[in-house]
């Protein structure tokens, strides 16, 4: 049977999205593969389909717990029961149970730190692993915008489980990053499936606002004018909340804020309301959108610019998944640069925090293996944020032996290098915002691509008629407040013909 037949049989899709078929074919001919596919093209299908055709388990390394959780839930929702996530969400008992019955699972998602544990490796070695998948593979490269020290060991770990056939997936990786991925994963030979980062159906617009207030007002104006649904991205939870409240006060009814500070029930509900069409707009931080499959997002507005073009592409890429014209608008106001630099710097620990940490380790004669036990103390004493601590912990736990003075020095150096990379990324983002040439070509150049055909609705430099994105149906069908709760209850639980 042809691949398409399987696609239809297993997933009920008629056609592959760009790059999927090439990637799957490459994997099925047993070539190590690095696939760079734009966001919204369904990267997970590239290992799910081979999973059904290959004999043995698919091991997927994924850096983000939330992403992993989303993927597992979606696969379960599709009816796949042989799927498990091995990560720190599991209790020790659940972990032990899962490890003894690993052969029951077809798809095993795992965090890099779990993969590094000896007893986990031992269990994995007993399995037949038909495909080793590294998701968000750009995290392995120091040139990537989201470098994760614990990804550095993946090459070594891959050797320990018998060098299985490998698929590295990423949405955004320039040429040097792809070469770095292959090297770090110890691949001698590999195929690359590289698709353009360009999304011709999304127009790229930059607007200017002089003040915060003006920006807020313009955002509301846009949200009211544009055909929804849409996402507005913020780099602060608080401002996301404020903006959502401001929109509600100003006549945008179906809008909610979404960020990591909400409780889990609210997060699930808001996400599902948006997918189900009960919300038109979500005011979100970057926590929103990962793993969300919503086809008809029509606009993405950036209230704050992301810290790198890669994130920008990922976020605007949540629009237009159904292939229909959509728009991405970034509103810039003076001072946004400083905020971006501050945020980039704040993600990394500083020299003083590191020195304090090592002084503490010395005084208390602690080894890196014991870090986890002291997490709370160390975070408090050194004033780490969660992200800063993650970086420190990942780095130290990836070291095989301990030499406090040397390691302190090398960690500080690593951080300085990271900061230089990050600042460079922010500068590129700022250049993009201010560029006076076609925005699309600026982005393509950043990924060593040549612009091909310019779409009709290209960017604010080439000129975009915003009426193209105007709201079609004006009066939105407002959710009616039914006064009769029993009727509401009946409509949830009874089929309509049974409601009298």
């Amino acid at each position: 049977m042809e691949l398409k037949g399987y696609l239809n049989g297993f997933f009920k899709f008629d056609d592959f999205r760009p790059g999927q078929q090439e990637t799957i074919e490459s994997v099925l001919t047993e070539s190590h593969t690095i696939a760079m596919l734009p966001t919204g093209t369904g990267k997970s299908l590239c290992y799910q389909l081979p999973g059904y055709l290959l004999d043995g388990a698919i091991l997927v390394v994924s850096p983000l717990l939330s992403l992993m959780q989303d993927q597992v839930e979606q696969m379960m929702a599709m009816g796949e029961k042989r799927v498990i996530a091995l990560n720190s969400f599991l209790t020790p008992q659940q972990k032990a149970k899962a490890l003894t019955e690993l052969e029951r699972y077809k798809f095993i998602f795992i965090s890099p730190e779990m993969l590094g544990m000896d007893f986990v490796l031992a269990s994995l070695r007993k399995l037949k692993i038909s495909l080793f998948v590294v998701d968000e593979a750009h995290c392995i490269s120091q040139w990537g915008y989201d470098f994760r020290p614990d990804y550095l060991r993946l090459g070594e770990l891959r050797q320990q489980i018998g060098q299985p056939l490998t698929l590295a997936l990423t949405a955004t990786a320039a040429r040097e990053v792809r070469a770095d991925i292959a090297e770090k994963l110890c691949l001698d030979q590999w195929k690359e499936v590289v698709y353009s980062v360009d999304r011709p159906t999304i127009s790229m617009v930059i607007e200017h606002a002089d003040t915060f207030q003006e920006k807020l007002e313009r955002t509301v104006e846009l949200v009211k004018f544009l055909q929804g649904p849409g996402i507005v991205y913020f780099s602060s939870k608080k401002i996301a909340e404020q903006a959502a409240a401001y929109m509600r006060e100003n006549g945008v009814r179906k809008v909610m804020a979404y960020h990591g500070g909400l409780d889990s029930e609210s997060r699930i509900l808001i996400q599902q309301q948006f997918i189900n069409g009960q919300l038109d707009v979500v005011c979100a931080t970057s926590a929103f959108g990962m793993g969300i499959n919503k086809e008809n997002v029509r606009f993405v507005i950036h209230f704050h610019m992301p810290l790198q073009i890669e994130s920008y592409l990922q976020e605007i890429g949540r629009a237009a998944r159904d292939g229909k014209d959509s728009t991405a608008i970034l509103i810039y106001s003076p001072g946004d640069e400083q905020l971006a630099f501050q945020l980039a710097e704040g993600e990394l620990p500083d020299r003083y925090q590191i020195e304090r940490l090592f002084a503490y380790l010395k005084d208390h004669k602690l080894g890196y293996k014991e870090l986890a036990q002291y997490t709370e103390d160390l975070i408090r004493i050194c004033g780490f944020t969660e992200i800063q601590w993650r970086i420190v912990e990942e780095y130290l736990s990836s070291l095989s032996h301990t030499d406090l003075d040397l390691d302190s020095h090398s960690l500080i150096q690593m951080i300085e290098r990271r900061l230089a990379v990050k600042n460079g990324k922010v500068r590129k983002m700022i250049e993009y915002v201010h560029a006076q040439e076609c925005k699309r070509s600026v982005i393509l150049k950043a990924f060593n691509e040549k612009p091909e055909k310019r779409p009709e609705y290209c960017c604010s430099i080439c000129g975009v008629d915003m009426d193209h994105y105007k709201k079609m149906e004006p009066g939105d069908n407002e959710m009616l407040i039914k006064l009769d709760w029993k009727q509401d209850l009946a409509s949830i639980l009874l089929l309509s013909e049974r409601i009298k």
């Binding site: 959780q69 839930e73 979606q74 929702a77 599709m78 009816g79 659940q94 909610m256 889990s264 029930e265 609210s266 699930i268 509900l269 808001i270 996400q271 599902q272 309301q273 189900n276 009960q278 407040i481 006064l483 709760w485 029993k486 509401d488 209850l489 009946a490 409509s491 949830i492 639980l493 009874l494 089929l495 049974r498």
Partner: protein, 353 residues
């Protein structure tokens, strides 16, 4: 000037504790701190319904609120961290309660262990049933705890009835159990998720109902607890709903450590022996006994306080409305503090006030 709903609740509680306890005792009460002090005070002042009903409260937010009440002359400082309600505060409270009364069915002490798991299971059960009758098998569950998912799955298969009957029965039970005077079932129904209809978050439901979030929260608990009363009273009429409350959660359990002490008491050990065996202070064991008396009705304290002395202590307590152990002790000089606390714990609610 008016007060918010939450302020009226806090004012009411401050009025009840009469400046005899610090404002932080309310924090512990809202948080549901399982310490003998908090549990005992909750019984003593008859504010057990408020036990653990507002776990999201922080020390700072409570401090801020009390400060604001003080700035508005609704309360005044009585001692360090202790306030009493002013006359103006009393009037304001009365006016506010006339318009927005306190939740009468809410019972934090009785249901603090039950509420959360019950609500988690209920929301998931409703969602699953709704999708079952619509033959939809692909949807994201509103709960992501593995335990809850597994529990509900088992529960449904244990019923052994077809999907239509199951959903209809759930509807009948809910429609009847929620139908309770002086509660607001719509506040609960708004939150439920079903087939192609995602429930509202707390914030959205409050806004939809036109209530401030804390008012919504208390009304919601009030309705839920009234429903639990109905369901557990006539469990045979509500087999599906009562089954969502696990057996172990129906009674107020003891804290783990107290439970151990209780086991040893039942085996006949004296408090000294228990303290020695468990390597704990005698005073800790005494705290445990007070907690046992509060939690287990009918626990006999005669072995620790002679019936004669119990009478004396009760008499002193009745004459003395301040409820300070010290004042009782002054009147019954041969009684220890432990003995007084035991008697107060046992008879506090009915006879004392």
């Amino acid at each position: 000037m008016g007060v918010t709903y939450l302020e009226s609740v806090v004012l009411y509680l401050l009025k009840t504790i009469k400046g005899e306890r610090t404002i932080y005792s309310l924090y512990h009460l809202f948080q549901g701190k399982r310490s003998s002090q908090t549990i005992q005070d909750a019984h003593l002042y008859q504010i057990t319904p408020y036990f653990q009903v507002f776990p999201s409260v922080t020390r700072e937010s409570l401090e801020r609120m009390v400060k604001s009440l003080r700035d508005r002359n609704l309360v005044k400082e009585a001692a360090e961290s202790k306030v009493i309600v002013t006359e103006y505060g009393m009037e304001t409270l009365e006016r506010s309660l006339k318009e927005k009364p306190l939740p009468v069915f809410m019972n934090g002490w009785k249901y603090h262990q039950t509420t959360e798991p019950f609500w988690e299971r209920l929301t998931l059960l409703v969602q699953v049933c709704s999708n079952l009758v619509h033959h939809e098998s692909s949807y994201i569950p509103v709960r992501n705890k593995k335990d809850t998912l597994f529990w509900v799955k088992q529960y449904i298969s244990k019923q052994g009835i077809n999907r239509y009957i199951l959903a209809e029965r759930l509807y009948m039970e809910l429609a009847s159990a929620l139908d309770h005077e002086n509660t607001r079932p719509e506040l609960v129904v708004l939150r439920l998720t079903g087939y192609k209809k995602i429930g509202l978050t707390i914030t959205q439901a409050a806004e939809m109902a036109g209530l401030e979030p804390s008012h919504y929260h208390f009304e919601f608990l009030n309705t839920l607890h009234a429903m639990l009363d109905t369901v557990l009273e006539k469990a045979s009429d509500y087999p599906l709903l009562s089954g969502l409350v696990s057996q172990g959660e129906r009674e107020v359990p003891l804290t783990l450590s107290t439970d151990k002490t209780y086991g040893l008491i039942q085996k006949g050990y004296s408090l000294e022996e228990i303290a020695a065996a468990r390597n704990l202070k005698q005073s800790t064991i005494e705290d445990h006994v007070v907690e046992i008396v509060l939690s287990i009705k009918g626990f006999n304290i005669d072995a620790y306080v002679s019936p004669e002395k119990q009478k004396k202590i009760l008499q002193a307590a009745r004459d003395n409305s301040a409820r300070k152990l010290k004042q009782i002790k002054e009147r019954v000089s041969d009684a220890t503090y432990f003995e007084i606390r035991l008697v107060m714990a046992k008879y506090g609610e009915e006879q004392w006030n």
